[in-house]
Symmetry: C2
Subunit: 205 residues, 2 copies
Amino acid sequence: MQNSPFRNAAQKEADRAAKRDAVLRAAVRMFNERGFFATSLDDVAASLGISKRTIYHYLANKDQVLLECITIGLEQLLAAADDARAEPGNGRDRLVKFLRRYVEINMDDFGICVSRTGEEALSRESLPRYRALKKKIDVAMRQILTEAVEDGSIGPIDVKMTAFTLAGALNWPGRWYDPKGALTPAQISEAMVKVLMGGLDPRPN
Amino acid sequence: MQNSPFRNAAQKEADRAAKRDAVLRAAVRMFNERGFFATSLDDVAASLGISKRTIYHYLANKDQVLLECITIGLEQLLAAADDARAEPGNGRDRLVKFLRRYVEINMDDFGICVSRTGEEALSRESLPRYRALKKKIDVAMRQILTEAVEDGSIGPIDVKMTAFTLAGALNWPGRWYDPKGALTPAQISEAMVKVLMGGLDPRPN
DNA sequence: ATCAATATGCACTCACGAGTGTATTGTGCT
DNA sequence: AGCACAATACACTCGTGAGTGCATATTGAT
């Protein structure tokens, strides 16, 4: 299979995907740095040494650039939920696994983009897809919480409010995390999950 | 003192302040609804039945409109910290008081604006003031936490990470709170604080 | 070598929105 | 009455950035 057009076609496909990916990666970094609205596609193109027109060969418009970035981030979160649920141990173990990973994703480029971007940035057409993914994650979170409550490995908390509270706390690092700071994502994630699991009230021990 | 020019001058001042205030109130609502960048001052003016030029008689530019809105929100939070610290009871009581109020402020128009607005939206000139206020609140939060740890009314938590975790959780309602929803701010605030204080782990009781 | 398709750049249009110059109206003061 | 000043509107400039038409370059296929 030296010169089969198949392999070649696949190669082309891969090339194209790699370029598209590079655009998204450059875009998400600039979105996170300067904000979505303060970033022009001309800026993104310049940072890659290409022209804006080229970007439009891989992505339909600015809105789609953002939607793709967010989708990547959200899909990482979904994958984290699936992974956690496949884990052995009790409900609490799976929950902790999920939370730990959730925080870490929120300090990754695409995750940061998710936690920094509100609905206002997306177009009317992109919103349904965005909301659907968000919903899926919320459902997964509640499911994991419910299972943990049911097997008694965490206390009998209000699942809905707890899911909201956790989501807020876990998303926040996307706002202040500094890769050049002293703490690593793993340390931050561990400390935050500890606070959330243990609560502030003193524990008899 | 029927026709004293003093009263008149004061009256004028008050009129002016009231109008300025009305502009800010209209602006903050639209910022929250559609996002800062998607809101033009023409829109804000139209919603008040005035022309954009009038807005510029009360505020220097769009950046200042935003800064004022955020400042109002942040100052409410600062006031909440002061109030809480003046409260009787132990450290935990004061902390709970502060947290409860913090959440509620984040469901008020100006508070929502604070939690929805990132640094990217502000101009270089406005940032120092913004950051200074943010810092003050963070300091106050840590102070309250430290006092509670020291008098033993909450567990020996990591103050810095806890402050971050709390801030995230408490700010989140600004993103999803819907005034037309079933839950009142007081209910949400109570439930969230309960989750944070108690944690997820089961408590022997 | 040539053709078709894909990739890329250049230069443009177009809309929108921040901010302003100037004219007009209203209001209290003397 | 007339003056000074605040309030407000209208109509404008000007920059910026999304998106596009067209021309060119590159590359794989025959």
